[in-house]
């Protein structure tokens, strides 16, 4: 009969991730910078002025990718956290934790840029548009997740509790979005409409796409940086980390 089985997958996952992410990082930063530069240039200087909204509409080139990313990152966070919980995979849990702050930042950017977009149209700094309000609630979901995992001292319990909360949140997101849309139409609320947005000319689409990819590259880069820090902190007693520390000390 086989010996007692270890419950955690203690193989190469963290060190492999560490070295792989380390080699990818420079490329990711370069891609993010390049794509952002080109995308912003096209969006702010090349794309034509809109008939209705003038120059102010250009903020959507940042707003839309940011909003997109805030959603995608939440789902990715929930998925990785779930994998970490169900399969007891430490690396997956560490990735989830690394994703959360970035997701929150994207949400904040989306909210701020959404506010800037609404100001010229409605004259106020905030408009209870269905999408913006849903974005605000998404911010609350992020805050709740981060608050919960930070409040729990035991790392494994924090990871698993966060996973459950993230899953419950992810399942609730469609319900919340639907109810907010319902609420908005009932009360004839204001809308920062995408449908009233300028018809998408090809240059605008190109700018939007480029910036979306730039955000993706940036997200990968920053999440990798954070995840690497988490890996080092959690695995500090492991051989390979000690080896790295020794090497760093020798070379400095």
């Amino acid at each position: 009969m086989s010996g007692p089985r270890l419950r955690f997958f203690t193989f190469a996952a963290p060190p492999r991730f560490y070295s792989l992410s380390g080699s990818l990082l420079p490329w990711l930063w370069a891609a993010a910078a390049l794509l952002a530069a080109v995308g912003l240039y096209i969006g702010f200087f090349v794309a034509p002025t809109d008939a209705q909204q003038g120059e102010s509409y250009r903020i959507i080139f940042i707003h839309v990718p940011a909003a997109w990313m805030s959603m995608v990152v939440y789902l990715a966070m929930a998925a990785w956290a779930a994998i970490g919980w169900i399969f007891n995979a430490r690396m997956a849990s560490m990735l989830a934790r690394a994703l959360a702050p970035s997701g929150m930042v994207f949400t904040l950017i989306a909210l701020a840029t959404g506010s800037f977009w609404g100001k010229p149209a409605w004259g106020t700094w905030w408009v209870w548009d269905a999408r913006l309000t849903s974005e605000l609630i998404l911010l609350f979901l992020y805050v709740g997740y981060i608050a919960l995992v930070e409040a729990i001292d035991d790392v494994r319990r924090a990871d698993h509790a966060g996973a459950l909360l993230a899953i419950v949140g992810a399942v609730n997101v469609p319900v919340i979005y639907f109810s907010v849309r319902w609420w908005n139409t009932l009360h004839q609320g204001a809308t920062i409409t995408m449908s009233a947005a300028p018809k998408m000319q090809s240059t605008m689409l190109v700018a939007m796409l480029l910036l979306t990819f730039a955000f993706w590259a940036y997200a990968f880069a920053i999440v990798f940086v954070r995840a690497r820090a988490i890996v080092l902190e959690r695995e500090q007693d492991a051989e390979w980390v000690r080896g790295l520390a020794l090497a760093a000390r020798k070379s400095s």
């Binding site: 010996g3 007692p4 089985r5 270890l6 419950r7 955690f8 001292d153 035991d154 790392v155 494994r156 959690r234 007693d237």
Partner: protein
Amino acid sequence: MTNHSIRTVLSAVPISPSIDSTFHVSEPHLAARGLACRRGTRLLFENVDLALRPGELVWLRGRNGRGKTSLLRLVAGIATPEAGEVLLDGTPIAANGERSRRVVYLGHQHALKDDLTSAEALEFLLRIHGRRSDRASVDTALEHWDMLGQRNTWVRRLSQGQRRRVALARLVGEHEASLWLLDEPFDALDADGVQRLNTLLLQHLQRGGAVLLTGHQATLAPTLRARELDLDDCAAA
């Protein structure tokens, strides 16, 4: 100096020669292999083996913080071990449907609610574990510990020793050859209480039951012939 080698607790001689011979002495009721426990990011202990056979009493010793309560919780199946497994009659304990019937776990805190009377608190605990919880059974149990006079006293008015007596009253009605997992059962008991508990333990062992308990003081009666498992020797690096 830490010891990582596997500590197998050798099979012990049954306590009482009058044990029913239908029990297979070599078959452990409960077997634990290679248990490791984590606290925070460090391992408390690893490679701990344990077996409880009919008529055996194992006394879990060790300094504060060594993981005695943690080990007991692992054996009861409340907590999941970092490594290793606990088998009750051959099946993993957490999934074993017989666990509630076969195992009695008394934690260090007595699970008595302050705002209930002793009788109500005891009745609740007996009831949720599927034991007989009618008035007669509850009163018999309290009577055994000389607590019948306090049956209608609020738990918060009882002293620590009295609360311990009420908590231990759950053991009175146990007549199956069950496994008792007791965390510091002698805590706060006076000499009279210690004697009553020793008697209960002896009777239980003679029926073919098994006991795993923790405690600092050597208050176990010598007649119980306890086997010791010292966690100071199992500490991880």
